[in-house]
């Protein structure tokens, strides 16, 4: 009798674990542990720090995407913002051809220019969607095309080298073994978490995603809230660009061009809904961790690029299916 009770309790507990919001984290753990026997070097401290340094910039840009997804929108322009910000920053601070090349102000001015570029593109997206009533998909698709074209044009498709050491250290330097990138990510992503979970604008964001009309009737400033979401996504993409550009030591106009699926995929795997109203920064962290783990383990075990793409595509598709089934 007692044995049966135990089994029931165990089942309940296991079911609880799977149905709670931490299921993707459990999945990450299972994936990681079951990969250990087949993946030499997976648990080495070098590799663990590798996983985290690969994860941080993706987490930042995916967090921005999560905020947009919560409002029921989508931001396809995030990768082009990364390329544009990289180029704008490099054009300001590069020692070879930068406006302020060699000056002590080069790095801070470059950093500010990058963030401003991200915020401007994000604001532009938000304004076009809320004031002109255009669908987010087409607005961000066109801004993606326009700004990636602009980034290539500004540099004539050549990457810009010789960035100030102060700047590149943001991407690869560390303080007491803790990378600067980690400080930046914790600060930014932490702020987004607080915004979403503990602030009034956070509740407005969810309200817009659940039912935009109901939100408007209840007095939510829908236009400003949605514009805020896209502006934040732009700023996040620019911040991720800072980390990527820093560690590559190069301002590349095609930076992040292939990252879009990872960004949206991570948010959806975490549990953000493509239909709006659902999503959390912590979940997105789990999604990013899962995708990074897949990449890392399959890479270390010598799987071909095509296998990795198929596995990632499959996982994202499953997550999207799950999202659709929740809605039914």
């Amino acid at each position: 009798m007692r044995g049966r009770e135990n089994i029931v309790r165990l089942r309940l507990r296991a079911g609880g674990l799977l149905s709670t919001e931490h299921q993707v984290l459990a999945l990450c753990l299972i994936w990681f542990l079951s990969s250990i026997p087949f993946t030499p070097g997976l648990t080495s401290s070098n590799n663990i720090s590798n996983i985290f340094s690969n994860l941080l910039p993706l987490l930042i840009v995916a967090s921005g995407q999560t905020v947009v997804l919560i409002t029921g929108g989508i931001d396809l322009s995030a990768p082009s913002v990364m390329g544009l910000a990289a180029v704008v920053g490099a054009l300001v601070m590069s020692g070879d051809q930068g406006l302020l090349g060699g000056s002590a102000w080069a790095a801070p001015a470059g950093l500010a220019a990058m963030m401003l570029a991200g915020a401007l593109v994000g604001w532009l997206n938000g304004a076009a969607i809320t004031r002109l009533g255009m669908p987010p998909f087409i607005v961000t698709l066109t801004t993606m095309t326009f700004f990636s074209g602009l980034a290539v044009r500004l540099t004539k498709s050549e990457p810009i080298y010789n960035l100030p050491a102060v700047f590149t250290s943001i991407g690869k330097g560390s303080l007491f073994y803790i990378p600067y990138a980690l400080f930046a990510t914790v600060f930014l992503v932490g702020a987004m978490h607080v915004l979403l979970s503990r602030s009034l604008p956070g509740r407005w964001l969810y309200a817009c995603g659940h039912n935009v009309r109901a939100a408007a009737i209840s007095g939510v400033p829908v236009g400003a809230t949605v514009t805020l979401a896209y502006t934040l996504s732009g700023v996040c993409a620019a911040a991720a660009s800072v980390l990527y550009t820093g560690r590559l030591e190069t301002g590349s106009p095609v930076l992040g061009q292939r990252l879009l699926l990872d960004v949206i995929g991570a948010a959806v795997i975490g549990g953000a809904s493509l239909f709006g109203g659902r999503g959390k920064i912590v979940w997105t962290f789990y999604g990013v961790l899962f995708l990074t783990l897949i990449d890392n383990t399959l890479n270390l075990t010598g799987h071909s690029h095509f296998t990795i793409m198929m596995v990632k595509g499959g996982v994202i598709l499953l997550a999207a299916l799950l999202d659709a089934s929740r809605r039914r």
């Binding site: 542990l33 070097g41 080298y161 190069t250 590349s252 292939r258 890479n299 690029h305």
Partner: protein, 330 residues
């Protein structure tokens, strides 16, 4: 419950220990390609893997899909895994530098395949084709054919992405060859394709409209031939060698399309990068570096020119011919 978890962890740990300790350690080389978008890269990738297999060396492969950041992550993964050497096709000359620095710091030899790094004090070895030399020899052959015809020729050059040092080398090789034949060759159009087939098609179509008498075309890469052939067909100018109105055609790479065009008698000459030489040299260089031997910073593939006169003799060394024959099941 805790005991269960501990037992699972322990057995997994034991398993992983067995895995790592079994047998003598095989040499492992990480191979990172920026892209597999053209047949040339696929052929190079396969040739390197075949060369490593021949020497019983394990391969870790990674394709960055045109993304320099992904390439950086993949190279870092190789380093974390503790590979014995890295062979990489860089996305470009500059973004590869931090990866070379990381490999240097971990004391892992790194060899760049077909694309050299920009100016840096980080240590690497590059295996590259002699782009200016091979192109010059190819264009010289075309110019000789033009000379034999006794007619003056109007030439069109398709340039690659000039951010790519290989594209610059090929352009320079072309210019230096036609300079020697300035009495019979006049270059009337230089099309910047940025390694893009659509741009090449538009560029050749426009040039043929502006100069309908163009009768000499050289492309900096064979993968642009489909665009050239389409534009020539539209203008009814695609003729075999010896037919009235034939346009002298030349290219660079040695790909399967070029081989077929040579065989069918449309293409006059092609500069071939010797994929087999380059892949063997890259593997040898990485092993030599690992063994502490000194290796020159740049290993040059002299390549060769294949044309109607030496087609049968040279095609066994042309990678495009091998790919074509394999496709045909020969």
């Amino acid at each position: 419950m805790k005991r269960w978890v501990a037992a699972v962890l322990l057995s997994l740990g034991l398993l992983s220990g067995c895995n790592q300790n079994s047998g003598p350690k095989r040499i492992t080389i990480g191979v990172s390609f920026e892209t597999l978008q053209t047949e040339y890269w696929v052929a190079g990738f396969e040739a390197i893997k075949a060369e490593l297999k021949k020497r019983d060396i394990a391969v870790l492969e990674a394709i960055a899909d045109g993304d320099a950041n992904r390439q950086l992550e993949q190279v870092n993964n190789f380093i974390a895994r503790g590979v014995d050497g890295i062979i990489a096709v860089p996305k470009d000359a500059k973004t590869i530098i931090p990866m070379i620095k990381a490999a240097n710091a971990a004391d892992i030899p790194i060899v760049l395949y077909n694309r050299p790094a920009g100016k840096t004090d980080a240590k690497s070895v590059a295996v590259v084709a002699d782009n200016p030399g091979i192109t010059k020899a190819t264009v010289q052959y075309m110019c000789e054919q033009a000379k034999k015809s006794g007619k003056k020729h109007k030439a069109l050059l398709l340039m690659g992405d000039l951010g790519d040092i290989n594209a610059v080398g090929r352009r320079d090789g072309f210019e230096s060859a036609v300079k020697e034949y300035s009495d019979i060759i006049e270059v009337v159009a230089r099309v910047p394709t940025e390694w893009n087939q659509e741009k090449a098609l538009a560029g050749v179509t426009n040039a043929l409209q502006a100069h309908p008498d163009i009768n000499f075309i050289f492309t900096s890469s064979d993968f642009l031939f489909p665009s050239i052939v389409a534009a020539l067909k539209n203008a009814d100018r695609y003729k075999r060698i010896g037919e009235e109105g034939h346009v002298l055609l030349g290219g660079f790479d040695g790909d399967p399309t070029a081989y077929q065009m040579l065989k069918d008698g449309y293409l006059d000459a092609d500069g071939v990068q010797n994929v087999y030489f380059e892949s063997e040299a890259a593997v040898q260089a990485v092993l030599d570096l690992k063994a502490g031997k000194s290796v020159p910073e740049v290993i040059r593939d002299p390549g060769f020119v294949i044309h109607q006169g030496n087609l049968n003799e040279m095609s066994p060394q042309m990678w495009g011919a091998q790919v074509k024959n394999a496709q045909a099941g020969k």
